[in-house]
């Protein structure tokens, strides 16, 4: 078979990054303008608050005119507080005393805050609670290398870095603990005990719904496994995930699948690396977003070694050529690892009768097979 003239083709699906030591720059940015609390050169740890902002407090709408028994357009005349005034919980902010002082109607402040609107149209008053702080924590220990005024910081660290394929639960950190002996074993309920509280448990091929529930109960902060079944995930969350935008689930645990849905042994390289890192603290985040700006779940184990490589998207987009390590990511070879054997030119007919650009892969078991290029991802090791 003839090779592509240029000798190198690009993967349609970028591979997931699994690397032992890499320099990471992490943006820690506020969702709206605020104050940065650290300065360039500062060393930060997992839970250092690096920036803070305040979002406007929750508003509450008070149906004032009927409460005070006044006409809507005249409401303002009966208000003791005006727009912009501070209010204190329980304080009288409007009153109507009539019928020779015998009838009294009052409007009370529901909480500490500010009076925002007195509407002559609807006869309603809007009060707003105190501003709500939003804290951005460092999440990864490291050094502040850049302060973006009013927005946040960039933290630089050296870490082992593993990207997962799908996760749930947000940012967290804990000590890595291997819970299975090999990458082929499932994580089951009976393996988890209260001693695992605060830990990130790493296991083999799948985690059951019961195991996730138990882990959540005993205070495990994270589970990292090869696969996760759709059914178990639904059972654990209590609802079905429709689109792959996750990270905001109301759970105390972060669960990351490194390979796929369904039972799938964790890639040996990933499993062995995590085994070496056992006992160290890891930052983990299950947030996944497939559409519009792909976000994959991540496991980072910061350390002090100096490295040359820098994590960037370009590393993931490297071309493929004969010998490049790849993984099939769709049936019938789903999950199998191998290397590019050849890159035939033009389109080839598949079993479905569709025509697609393909590659020949020599799998690790020696079998050589044709796979659409769209169904392959690069293994970056």
């Amino acid at each position: 078979m003839s090779e592509e003239a240029e000798g190198k083709v690009y993967a349609y699906t970028p591979g997931l990054k699994v690397t032992k030591s890499i320099k990471i720059r992490k943006d820690r940015i506020l969702p709206l303008a605020g104050t940065v609390l650290v300065k360039e050169g500062d060393r930060v740890t997992f839970d250092t608050i690096v920036a803070q902002a305040f979002i406007p407090g929750e508003p509450e709408i008070l149906n004032a005119a009927p409460k005070l028994n006044v006409l809507k357009p005249r409401l303002n005349e009966y208000m003791l507080k005006q727009v912009g005034d501070k209010i204190v919980e329980g304080e009288i902010i409007g009153q109507n005393i009539y019928f020779f002082g015998l009838m009294k109607k009052f409007l009370y402040a529901p909480f500490d805050g500010t009076l925002e609107t007195i509407s002559k149209y609807s006869g309603r008053v809007i009060v707003r609670g105190a501003p709500i702080p939003i804290d951005v924590k460092a999440y990864v220990p490291g050094t502040i290398v850049e302060v973006i005024s009013n927005q946040g910081v960039i933290i630089e660290t050296t870490a082992s870095f593993i990207q997962g394929i799908f996760g749930i639960g947000g940012e967290s950190f804990g000590e890595i603990h291997m819970i299975t002996e090999t990458e082929n074993e499932p994580i089951t309920e009976d393996m988890i005990t209260s001693e695992h509280a605060g830990m990130v448990l790493v296991g083999g091929s799948i985690v059951t719904a019961e195991a996730m529930k138990k882990a959540n109960e005993v205070g495990v902060v994270g589970i990292v496994t090869g696969g996760i079944s759709s059914k178990d995930l639904t059972e654990f969350l209590g609802y079905e995930i429709g689109v792959a935008i996750t990270g905001e689930e109301a759970i105390n645990i972060t669960v990351i699948a490194t390979e796929s849905f369904g039972e799938m042994p964790m890639a040996k390289h990933t499993f062995d690396m995590l085994k070496e890192l056992e006992g160290q603290m890891a930052s983990i985040n299950g947030s996944t977003q497939i559409r519009a700006g792909v976000v994959r779940p991540e496991i980072m184990v910061p350390h002090l070694e100096e490295v040359e490589a820098v994590l960037s998207d370009e590393n993931l987009d490297a071309g493929m050529t004969s010998g490049t390590r790849v993984r099939a990511i769709r049936a019938p070879y789903f999950g199998k690892l191998g290397k590019v054997f050849s890159l035939p030119k033009g389109l080839q007919q598949l079993e479905t009768e569709s025509k697609a650009r393909v590659m020949e892969i020599e799998f690790d078991d020696g079998v050589i097979a044709i796979v659409p290029r769209a169904n392959v991802e690069l293994i970056v090791e």
Partner: protein, 635 residues
Amino acid sequence: MDDKVSSESNNVWVADAAAVSKLRVAPEKMQYILATDVGSTTTKARFFHKKDGVWRFLQAGESPTTVEAPYEDVTMGVRNAVAEVEELTGHSILTADGSGIMYPYDGNQGVDLYCTTSSAGGGLQMTVSGLMMNVTAMSANKAATGAGAIVMDIIALDDGRRDYQKIQRIRSMRPDMILAAGGTDGGAIDRIMETLELIKSSKPRPRLGEGFSLPLVYAGNSDAKDSVKEYMSDAFALEIVDNLRPSLEVEITEPARRAIHDLFMEHVMSHAPGYNNLMKWTDIDILPTPMGEGLAIQLIASNTGENTIGVGLGGATTNVYSIFDERFVRSVSANLGMSYSICNVLKEAGLDNILRWIPLDVDAKDIEDRLRNKMIRPTTIPQTLLELMIEQAVAREALRLGMEHHKSLATRLKGARGELKMTVFTSFSDDLAETYIDMLKIGVIAGTGGLLSHAPRRAQSLITLTDGFQPEGVTRLFQDSVFMMPHLGVLSTVYPEAAWQVFDKDCLIRLGTVIAPRGVSNSGTSVMSIELEMPNGETVTESVNMGELKRIPLSEEHTAKAIINPRGRFDVGMGEGKIFETEISGGVVGIVLDGRGRPLQLPESTEARNRALLDWWRALDLYPIDFDNPEVTEK
């Protein structure tokens, strides 16, 4: 029912004179046209050329969209896609420094027109509000979706949520724009102001352009205009237009739609990365992709003269369009799609409804995991027949759900006094919810999107559309050859003749005609007989029993005179049991006689259903399998 709906720009085949006047080259003098669609993942360039007086599709080029970091400039993706066209045709289009498009065609290089649609970054995302959910809020929803928006939430006084819940919801959303409607002209304004107070106090932030004012279109009670201006203009980029529901009996969405379009260009697109440059490249306004697609479907309806349903079955969304008795309605099922949103189809349809279309012994849990794996690796394609069958099964359900959603929007005006039979027992919205779309009167169904375009056998597209939409009577089915409906839609705004010529010659694939009598009866009883006068003069007669599906080959350039005789209570458009004499168009699949009943009857038991499905598949030679022994193994 005789409700009045606005003239929803149904004469799109007439070019927009104002836009035409801004063109650098008069349409009749044009020779080369470039159109792009900046999609959420891929930017697709299509290149058209006038040859021997006829416009034809010349070449396609595609490249990943570059709206996200680290690129954050859509023109890079456009340049890459256009560069592919240049490479494949040898025709230079981009300026030497890559800063734009060369105008006009100088006999050697350049183009006479460049136009584009865009859905990058998730398209136009809006929140709409009204007073009553089924009256003004629903009209606002129609106006927004008609303008090409994805509606994130509908806020109404009677939406069942408490004020604080609505506030929390508005605060959590980051829309591109808000459309606020409410009240009929002459009505009280206090309830409208209540809704606006709710919106303002929530302090919604725009998705793009942090620090900029969020655009808000007010299209409610005209008597409240001054109050709205006084109260809202300090916090929003406010645009006040005519009331979209001046009275309960009248709905005029056009002014609101135009305002949405203008604000989309001025405020939303200008804050999206690179769009300021892209706007300079184009001669005409950038349209949201679904709007371009909608215009293309309207072009089909106007040229065939038939009530038409169109569908864009995408990876993330399913857009359904209908032109019924000249009324145009578009619906977006924002979370029904074939890749990113495939698990939402699973969630909404249920696994059993997907599995019912696969007549094979499969492991349900495995299918569920496969669908989730497609969701997380959305660019993969089916390599095995089983995988293809699974995707086409999901597509049937996505279409069914998308059509259900569409019908809920394509309804008669709710709240119209003439229609209300108010008694103490009927609420405002009761039984007025039924759609005006009568499938028996739909003459054309047209589909676009990757799954349909990439189906290895055209019969697969035809049966997917048929099972999903369940056409009744006599219906022609079309599909897009190469994805270019949005391109032709935007082109049609200034040069409809060119758009239709490309459509007719290179875009529309005529799949065939489905004849499906409305009604059901017992299995094996006669549904209809048909007599066809074929182009070679031969007469073909065929009869169809309940539960049967048959195919008669008739190529796309041919038609056949037909006498269709539905039995008993079956109806093909002339009434129950009444003969219909008509001309039937052929297609790459041919004529499909569908006796499976309408509504479509699938046998209850798995065994009987599998047998029936395989019989139908055999009639269409749907897959390269042995239909008597349909084992599909994955090696």
